[in-house]
Each structure stands twice: as C-alpha cells, then as structure tokens.
C-alpha cells in the first residue's frame, strides 16, 4: 500500500518550525489564532496551512465513522467548504478543531444515511484494524508492544475506540473541546485522563489475554 508513512517522516512542509500532533508547542495557539483571522479575511495561504494541519485528524474522524476512502475524501472537502461560511461562529483554535470534528462526523452520518457507498458492516461499525493490504501487517504491527496496544484498543467499547483514535490526531489543547462536542463528558479526556484512557492503561497493564506467538 502506498502512502504508508512513518512517524518520523510526517512533517508538513508548509508550516515552518512546527510539528503537527499531540505534542503541541506552546505558541501553537497564537499561531493558529493568527492563521484563523487571516483565513477568515480571505487569505488562501493561511487557510491552506490550516487545511494541511488539521485534515489528517478529520480523515480519521470520517474513517472512524465507517466511510469508504472515496466518501471520506468528499466529506472532508464539504466540511472545509462549509467552514468558509462559518467563521463568525468560531472564536478560538479549540473551537475551530471541535467544529471541524463534529461537522465531519455529521457529514459522515449524512452520507451513511443517504445509503451511498458504505463499508461492508463486518462485526462492528468501527474496525480497529482497518483493511490491511498485503505486507502491511509486517510493517504496521512490527512488535509485541504494538500488537498489545491493538489488542487493548480492540477490547474498549466503540465510543472509547473512536474518541481515542480522534484525540490521538488532535492538538493537545483541543482535547477537552473535542470530547465535549462528541458528548463524552463527564470523565472525559481533557485536563484529566478520562475514562477511556484509564481503561486502556488498565488493559495494557493487565497484559494480553493471549500471549503473542
């Protein structure tokens, strides 16, 4: 499968001096706020940088909602186009991320409700181990640690699986806002660890139910 990217290689060329991901730099909020006001004023470059930074998160939101790749691409485009008319209601980087996440989820529901191309529903709407291409298994699940993490995630309830998958791609200061918009309060991930991570750590500490070969 092409497009397989390693953690070390992921660095958007268009956002100088920053790294995406959970380990947000302290000045990210300021930088995002500046990009937001420029984008709301019509700057394509500023909007483009926001797109580059937050689309990987929205991809996971759409895929966690059970969309095919093609539908997920359509939904992401729709969400970003809708943002053009919604700047007025968005006041902070956290509320932008939360708005994008919930809008992606709602657009995904809409596509699913319309009965368009859907993923075959296997056992559950959420597939923790997405369709793996040949050879991917060896690359993606290289060691016992990763296998153990997959196994532990697999034993969480669906809402926790979805939340953690989404949060893992979100900027850290935005965790609480996203969890709140997803209706995961109280006891959610935010300043606190939250129910889902607490459960996952417990499962990881308990070790695998079946020891790896």
């Amino acid at each position: 499968m092409e497009g397989l990217t390693l953690m070390k290689d992921r660095r958007p060329a268009t956002v100088p001096g920053s790294r995406p991901g959970p380990s947000a730099r302290p000045d990210r909020g300021t930088r995002m706020a500046d990009l937001m006001s420029a984008a709301a004023g019509g700057s394509e470059e500023a909007l483009g940088q926001i797109v580059t930074e937050l689309s990987p998160l929205l991809w996971q939101v759409a895929r966690a909602a059970g969309l095919t790749s093609g539908d997920a691409e359509d939904v992401l485009q729709t969400v970003w186009l809708r943002l053009l008319s919604h700047w007025d209601s968005i006041r902070s980087p956290s509320s932008l991320t939360a708005w994008l996440v919930i809008t992606t989820k709602r657009e995904a529901w809409r596509v699913r409700a319309a009965g368009r191309r859907q993923l075959p529903v296997d056992q559950d709407q959420f597939t923790v181990l997405p369709d793996q291409g040949p050879g991917l298994e060896e690359q993606a699940i290289v060691d016992d640690q990763r296998r153990a993490l997959w196994a532990a995630i697999d034993r969480l309830d669906r809402r926790c699986q979805e939340l953690l998958r989404i949060i893992a791609f979100a900027p850290r200061p935005d965790y609480a806002a996203i969890a709140a918009r997803l209706g995961m309060r109280p006891g959610s991930v935010g300043p606190t660890r939250g129910r889902c991570l607490a459960k996952l750590r417990g499962l990881l500490a308990d070790g695998p139910e079946v020891s790896p070969a």
């Binding site: 991809w59 691409e73 485009q77 990763r146 993490l149 300043p191 606190t192 660890r193 459960k199």
Partner: protein
C-alpha cells in the same frame, strides 16, 4: 480478565507522560494502517481557492457510472448529482476523442445563471439557458470544480455562489 481502571490511573487524574505516549502510539498505528491520501490537502486547497468568502456548498448526492475517484476508464459517461440548499446540479461527463471531457449540465429549479468550471490551469465560463441547461465542450482532464455564480438580485438568489467539491474528470 478484569480491567484495573480503578487502580493506579484514575479517570479523574491528570494526563501524564505515559498517557501522551500512548496517544502518540495510537496515532502511529492509525497513521500506518489508514493514512490520509497524501494528495488530499492539495485537492482541498484547490476547492477552497474561490473568489467568494461565503459560499453555498453543493454536496455530492448521487453518482452513476464510474466512481468519482476511480481511475478513468474507457469511453464511459458518468452522471453526478449535487444538492445544495437552493439548487440541484446534475452533470453528465463524456470523454472526447482528444482526451478532454465534455460536461453537460442541468440546474433545478431551471434558471439562467453564470457557471464556471475551475480547473488547475484555467477557469472556463458558460451560462445556463431558461431550461437550466449548460455545457462545457472541452474541459481538460484532471481536477475540476463547478461554481454557479449568484443570480441577479432576484427572489430566488441567496446572493452566494454555489460550489461543488473538486472532482476528477
């Protein structure tokens, strides 16, 4: 096996380094197993490059023929319908002999509007007639986006352009 979530890591405890490491590991797993197509942000940026600051979004509602994102096949026509709050846009795409695409479209409710087909190299213009019909005889292969310009200050117009997502011709 019993989960020990009541043990050393209470749900109301603060996020610690291990929690953040676990989230980073989860990110790695999904990044490897289900990565976003690398060219998607570029396509989104293309579709956001509009003259308007506010637009009405037409969502993909139905599609017949090839899948929008599938590799182009031979001589096959596709019909795609987009819906927005005020308009339905239906287009039929046929392949010309020279490899370009012919696009015939209909607006409902039928009305005269200026219509643009934005491509990566150019923006083509057309206008719909009273029956809402329009056509682009020759659109270059690749990424394209339809923009229906606002109606004159008529009763039906929202004053905003109606735009589709970028599609691949």
């Amino acid at each position: 096996m019993k989960p020990s979530d009541a043990g050393g890591w209470p749900a109301d405890g603060p996020l610690d380094e291990t929690d953040l490491q676990i989230l980073a590991d989860i990110r790695d797993l999904f990044q490897a197993a289900d990565p976003m197509p690398p060219d998607l942000p570029e396509r989104i940026r293309f579709s956001l490059a509009l003259r308007d600051l506010e637009v009405e979004v037409a969502r993909l509602a139905a599609e017949e023929g090839q899948q929008m994102l599938a590799v182009r096949g031979p001589e096959q026509s596709r019909t795609i319908t987009f819906d927005s709050d005020s308009l339905t846009i239906m287009i039929r795409i046929d392949r010309n002999r020279d490899g370009t695409a012919r696009v015939d479209g209909w607006l409902a409710p039928a009305q005269r509007r200026e219509i643009e087909m934005k491509t990566t190299s150019d923006t083509l213009s057309a206008a719909s007639d009273e029956q809402g019909r329009f056509s682009f005889a020759s659109v270059p292969r690749g990424t394209a986006q339809l923009v229906v310009r606002p109606a004159d200050q008529g009763a039906s117009g929202s004053g905003r352009s109606v735009v589709t997502p970028a599609l691949i011709l």
